[in-house]
């Protein structure tokens, strides 16, 4: 197919935007940890840009998008073979195949990076590196195949996921739960206050994420067309509604609208609109965003009730937001905007909601179980285990894992 320059420009820009989200996420999380752990956090995220990109080129892209299997791809594109010349089966787009592969790579990079927020302040870097590699192959590749590859079993059944509500957010969110259950709580949590060392960094990260999310969602149209524009608009409206809903909830509950609440609500809205972005229209993104903003505000307290230390609320925001968005798509989907099926509200039929529920359930189950197994095996197999020692946790990841201090004065 002849390459269309406009679509190609949009896809390349979108890929760059999604790449920019990972540093954005690093800073978003990095601002929230204590100063002694910020480099540890930044490193876990940047390392994903390194390791996952190479793994993607070598094998994971091929496993996710190659071939026409139901459950998993093949090795057709391994070792960067055919990547420059051939789009994966089922894709017919006027864009260079390397652009498509690069764009999808950026999703693969950020998905496991989301998990770093849950495990903040206590995981050994070496353990993270191992986890990252295994998770990409054993969890990300199959789940991406199920949903993003036209031959995947969830795609075939009719489940919809415009830009990764399932593959990225539900998947990483439930994986985060599995990891923190194996890893355990930070010392002193929840009694000891562990306050963000720099909220301006977190707000900067929020801005970078929000900006990049236009590439994430509107880029998922894979063309510069009306669907991309609709996804763009929906992205902004859901983020805005998520922010307002979170702020309203905390103002009512606690008397203050917080800056971190604004950031968190916007991210919650962005997460929830991700699966819906190109499939809904009108006021729907506002309802989706607002529902996610409010739901996630309440969800982030679950960890205190149930006693799992999801340090920076990956579960409360990404897992819950991803589920909210994926299910609400079953209600709000509008085939007149785009996509094969109407949701319950417009089509009056339960079919899509059923498929969405099944897809959420399948992703939850698979990712939770396999992630948990990876962690249990690594905990056993790695000489140092998954966690840093108590002393190292007290001293901080920066010095103990990376022999660096984030902030140095002239006294050394």
């Amino acid at each position: 197919m002849k390459v269309n320059a406009g679509d190609t420009a949009w896809l390349l820009v979108s890929a760059a935007l999604v790449m920019f989200m990972t540093p954005g996420l690093a800073l978003f999380y990095g601002g929230m940890v204590r100063a002694k752990n910020v480099l540890g956090m930044l490193m876990q995220n940047f390392f994903s840009l390194g390791l996952v990109s190479i793994l993607w080129a070598v094998v994971v892209y091929s496993l996710a998008f190659g071939g026409s299997g139901r459950l998993i791809g093949n090795f057709d594109f391994a070792w960067v073979e055919h990547v420059g010349s051939t789009l994966p089966p089922g894709f017919h787009l006027p864009v260079p195949p390397a652009a498509f592969m690069s764009y999808q790579m950026m999703f693969a990079v950020i998905t496991p990076a989301l998990i770093t927020g849950a495990i903040a302040d206590r995981m050994r870097f070496a353990a993270w590196a191992w986890f990252l590699g295994l998770w990409m192959i054993l969890v990300y590749a199959p789940v991406a195949h199920w949903v993003f590859s036209p031959s995947g079993w969830l795609a075939q059944r009719g489940a919809l996921d415009f830009a990764g509500g399932l593959v990225v957010h539900v998947n990483a969110g439930v994986a985060a739960l599995a990891v923190v259950l194996v890893l355990g709580k930070r010392r002193g949590w929840p009694k000891r206050a562990m306050l963000p060392h720099s909220l301006p960094l977190t707000l900067l990260g929020t801005g970078m994420l929000w900006f990049g999310w236009f590439g994430f969602n509107a880029g998922s149209a894979l063309a510069a067309n009306g669907v991309a524009a609709q996804a763009f608009l929906n992205t902004q409206l859901a983020a805005a509604a998520g922010m307002l809903a979170w702020l309203a909830a905390e103002k009512l509950q606690q008397g203050h609208a917080t800056t971190l609440g604004a950031a968190s609500g916007a991210v919650a809205g962005l997460v929830a609109i991700t699966p819906c972005a190109g499939f809904v229209g009108g006021m729907s993104p506002i309802w989706v965003g607002a529902a996610a903003g409010a739901a996630c505000f309440f969800a982030v307290r679950m960890k205190f009730r149930f006693g799992f230390d999801d340090s920076l609320d990956v579960i409360g925001v990404h897992l819950v937001g991803g589920i909210v968005g994926s299910l609400l798509l079953g209600l709000f989907a509008d085939a007149a905007v785009n996509g094969p099926s109407d949701g319950l509200f417009l089509g009056g039929r339960w079919g899509l909601l059923g498929e969405q529920t099944l897809a959420v359930g399948a992703t939850l189950a698979y990712s939770f179980v396999v992630t948990g197994l990876i962690c249990l095996v690594l905990k056993r197999v790695l000489p140092g285990g998954l966690r840093v020692s108590e002393d190292d946790e007290e001293e901080g990841l920066d010095v103990t894992q990376h022999a660096e201090a984030a902030y140095s004065s002239e006294l050394v």
Partner: protein, 112 residues
């Protein structure tokens, strides 16, 4: 020689400095500290969880003076720093057995 140490509200530093200048005391050393006392702290929110923050930002001012001036200096600092509201801070005096100026090695009152 005496050392007069004061804990004040941060925005009072320049008033204290000016008061000292008026007494011809031309030196002081200031650091940023956190104070806990009768003045209530505040609560901070972090993703829906509330934390009581007992510590409030204060400054610590140290002034070396000769024995004659101690009372004047302490008095001037207190007056300059007062807002009348809780949390205004403390001033205390300790004895200095020896004092040197690094640049010249001068000792005692010369070193001031």
């Amino acid at each position: 020689m005496k050392l007069v140490t004061g804990i004040f509200k941060p925005f009072k530093v320049s008033a204290v400095k000016d008061a000292l200048k008026d007494l011809d005391v031309n030196g002081m050393t200031v650091s940023e500290v956190q104070g806990f006392g009768r003045q209530r702290g505040h609560s901070e929110t972090f993703r829906g969880a509330e934390y009581e923050v007992d510590f409030l930002p204060k400054v610590r001012v140290e002034v070396l003076v000769d024995d004659r001036n101690v009372d004047d200096v302490a008095r001037a600092m207190i007056d300059a720093a007062r807002t009348g509201k809780i949390g205004d801070g403390k001033v205390w005096v300790t004895n200095v057995e020896q004092l040197y100026r690094v640049r010249t090695g001068e000792a005692g009152e010369e070193a001031l």
